[in-house]
């Protein structure tokens, strides 16, 4: 499916064309979002094989139900919602002994931990190569509990609004906000270990 001629076309046109049964338009939509959906699916399922299933099921469902897409939300928000549901179903099937949802109560014992209090350089990421930086950022995200992770990925990496993330994840706005805060603080804590200014320690500001 060569679709390079469609790369510059805006999303609503592509959706309209896909609804008119233009398979090339739908393939272009898939191409635009497949990597993000795959990343999100991996974050939720924590398993590459499951994530691949979720990826396929998400675009199958999107294709089947394209006529139900209202167009008052972004296409990406709509498919994220499908992907989240598919990923949760996977988790449920894997852990048949208990139900799973992104609403699961989280151990909040360390929710606003701020043990590492040390200043960073202005651009601490400059100290690392691209690969090293990627590794540091990835492993910090992996260390978050899955409900925090999906909120953080949607809000701060994919740059969805709080309302869009709430809609996509089927959570309330306050739930998205409190998870985002905890995710940000936990990541800050982890990254401080790599990014703190040389020579500073935790008590430099006490």
């Amino acid at each position: 499916m060569a679709v390079s001629s469609l790369t510059g076309i805006d999303e609503s046109t592509l959706v309209a064309q896909a609804r008119e049964n233009d398979p090339r338009a739908f393939s272009e939509l898939v191409r635009r979002y497949e990597a993000k959906i795959f990343r999100l699916a991996q974050h939720i399922t924590q398993n590459r094989e499951d994530a691949e299933d979720v990826l396929q099921e998400t675009f199958f469902k999107a294709y089947e139900h394209l006529d139900q897409f209202q167009g008052n939300s972004k296409f990406y928000t709509w498919i994220v919602r499908i992907a989240v549901n598919q990923a949760l179903m996977k988790l449920r099937r894997r852990k048949t002994d208990r139900s799973v949802s992104l609403d699961d109560t989280i151990d909040t014992g360390e929710d606003t931990v701020t043990r590492e209090i040390a200043a960073w350089d202005e651009d601490p990421e400059q100290r690392f190569s691209r690969e090293e930086l990627g590794g540091i950022l990835d492993s910090a995200i992996q260390s978050l509990a899955p409900p925090y992770r999906s909120v953080f990925v949607l809000r701060d990496i994919d740059e969805l609004s709080t309302e869009e993330a709430a809609e996509a994840l089927g959570l309330s706005v306050p739930a998205v906000k409190s998870r985002l805060l905890r995710a940000r603080l936990q990541l800050r804590e982890k990254l401080t270990r790599s990014f703190k200014r040389k020579g500073d320690d935790a008590f430099a500001y006490m």
Binding site: T114, A119, R184
Partner: protein
Amino acid sequence: MLTCRDFLKELSDYLDESSDRKLRADLEQHITQCPNCWVIADTTRKTIRIYKGMDPYPIPADVEERLMRALEKKIAAKAH
């Protein structure tokens, strides 16, 4: 007077610039007087900046190929 706990609770909205004006002024006053909260706010802001817009890894070629093949089948089946 805001406590550090109050400040942390409001930190996300403060960094997203979505707190109301009065609260924002109180939060700003707090960090001028509290070096720890200043550091936390500054390093959290940098955390958000570093992650923002981070591209996903390209999807592995074999995964994409299987996806596209499965979709082609699906689309062909619908057409009949």
